[in-house]
């Protein structure tokens, strides 16, 4: 097609997802922002990134497409055009025009249909992917919402009543009409952890307490970090550390001895001792742990961390193959 023809083609009205009820802290997220931490920019992105990835795969989207992170309902969304959708992550109570939806399944949405998501029954966060993806503009290479810095996502903020989310339907519904589902990852109350650079600065007693106690998730947890409740860990060494880079998964121990596991919205630099790092393959589990949940840290090593990552990739290939034969 030459340029002249392309120009004369009538411009179609962009498809939208209209927000009838916004819920609380519903945000546009993708796999996060990278390459800007040296400017102080947080990673952002889905806290349960694997769940958003699965939802994207189910609707035949590339993995980096943006979806919605849903935490507290009720959320109601109206589809302007035919599309297909999938919600992964937490088990939830939701329907499409009265027909119940299941976690980890893809369904076809007719124009005008309303998706209602009332909240999670188990787990904490659910991820909606729509064929074509939420087409908000990219900011610094990502469509994720950075709430603190107020950019990215939909106008740099959580969704509000009346928002019209653009959807890119070009690549959409054709291959989506068959309803299919996938196995979701199994949540267990165990996070594998690699000892951190300051691990040795904690005495034998604190090290033992770190691995052996069941840690509780504090109500003060958010997208920046999960604060844990338990027996405080006393650092044997004294003195302040120089500010260093931190990233999601790093477990810091502030002076009160109660660990904080940093998550996607964590600041780029910190100065607290780092007792450990949650392996990348297990970090999603925290995103699905509600306040009050108890879990344990399991000491791990590099080989295990890499094997776990490889296993996750194989799961994705298997899903791709079973859905689209490639």
């Amino acid at each position: 097609m030459n340029q002249r023809q392309a120009k004369s083609k009538p411009k179609r009205k962009p498809a939208t997802l209209e927000v009838l009820r916004a819920g609380i802290q519903t945000t546009v997220q993708d796999q996060g922002r990278s390459g800007y931490r040296h400017l102080g920019v947080a990673q952002s992105g889905a806290l349960d990134a694997p769940a958003l990835l699965l939802a994207n795969r189910l609707v035949n989207n590339p993995g980096h497409f943006a979806g919605l992170e849903m935490v507290v309902g009720p959320i109601a969304l109206r589809f302007s055009d035919a599309s297909c959708l999938a919600i992964c992550g937490a088990d939830f109570d939701a329907d499409l025009d009265g027909v119940a939806l299941r976690s980890g399944w893809r369904v076809y949405a007719q124009p005008g249909q309303v998706l209602t998501w009332r909240g999670a029954r188990q787990g904490m966060r659910a991820y909606l992917a729509v064929a074509g993806g939420i087409a908000v503009p990219e900011v610094l290479g990502s469509r994720s919402t950075d709430i603190a810095a107020q950019f990215g996502g939909f106008m740099g903020r959580a969704l509000q009543h009346g928002d019209q989310l653009p959807i890119d339907v070009v690549a959409a519904a054709a291959r989506c009409e068959r309803s299919v589902g996938c196995l979701q990852r199994l949540w267990t109350p165990e996070l594998r952890v690699l000892p951190g650079p300051e691990y040795a600065e904690f005495g034998a007693q604190a090290q033992q307490a770190f691995w052996q106690q069941a840690w509780g998730v504090s109500h003060q947890s958010n997208r920046m970090g999960y604060r844990l409740e338990g027996t405080p860990l006393m650092r044997a060494a004294s003195g302040d550390l120089l500010s260093h880079a931190v990233m999601p998964g790093v477990i810091q121990v502030p002076p009160n001895g109660l660990p904080i596991v940093l998550l996607a919205d964590a600041q780029a630099t910190g100065g607290y001792p780092r007792i450990g790092v949650v392996i990348a393959a297990d970090l999603w589990k925290l995103a699905q742990a509600r306040p009050g949940t108890r879990f344990c840290f399991i000491q791990s090593d590099l080989a295990q961390a890499q094997a776990a990552q490889k296993k996750w990739q194989q799961e994705q290939y298997r899903l791709e193959w079973s859905l689209y034969g490639r």
Partner: protein
């Protein structure tokens, strides 16, 4: 100078996808300059998710599927040995500040703590030259070295829930500017109307490591 340079650096992994090079305390400018030049080389090499200088340390985030930690540590050690403290042609960035009043509600407190008049605090704060060591905390937030020791003031016991964008503050022995509104515990002495971070620009952060900052009283 050579004594400082010969102090051993440490190289270690942080989780499965980051490698860190760390200098010894106390922090030195020579070490920092070598780290800036190392960061520059790593960015030119490319292929990394993040290259993040801290205070006398540098963190390299890589893709563990494409490379492994041991290789990255070896590379860092090798590049460090061959690196030199670059002669940075520092830019000097003037930052105009409205001191005191509604813009700097803690100016009097900082003055009382230092045993100076508010005018003397402004004079001392504007006379000094500050070096950007690294960025962090929020987009475009510069960690500055060079605060006159007399102006060091402890942080507020109770942090403010919201500090306006552009606020210039003192926290302990540090001074800095909040690019965006955020909670904050620093003592606020003034405010600048400059945009310190704009994600729409090709270079989003006004200040870069190695830059010199001069505060100018309006």
């Amino acid at each position: 100078m050579t004594a400082l340079l010969s102090k051993p650096m440490s190289f270690y992994l942080l989780g499965e996808n980051a490698a860190v090079i760390q200098g010894c305390a106390p922090a030195s400018l020579i070490c920092q300059r070598r780290l800036w030049s190392l960061a520059q080389q790593l960015r030119v090499l490319g292929g990394y998710r993040e290259v993040v200088p801290g205070m006398n340390n540098l963190t390299l985030v890589f893709d563990p599927e494409l490379t492994n930690g041991a290789a990255q540590l070896a590379l860092l050690a090798d590049l460090w040995d061959r690196s030199e403290a670059q002669d940075f042609t520092s830019r000097t960035v003037p930052i105009q500040v409205n001191y005191g009043g509604e813009f700097g509600p803690d100016l009097e407190l900082v003055a009382a703590h230092a045993g100076l008049s508010p005018e003397q605090v402004i004079a001392a704060h504007t006379a000094a030259e500050y070096l950007v060591y690294f960025l962090g905390f929020q987009p475009g937030f510069a960690y500055l070295g060079g605060l006159p020791p007399a102006l060091a003031t402890p942080r507020r016991a109770t942090p403010r829930l919201s500090v306006p964008a552009g606020s210039v503050g003192i926290g302990g022995a540090q001074t800095g500017i909040y690019p965006a509104a955020s909670p904050g515990g620093w003592q606020l002495i003034g405010r600048s109307s400059l945009t310190l971070f704009d994600p729409e620009l090709a270079q989003p952060s006004l200040l870069q490591p190695g830059d010199l900052v001069r505060f100018v009283s309006l």
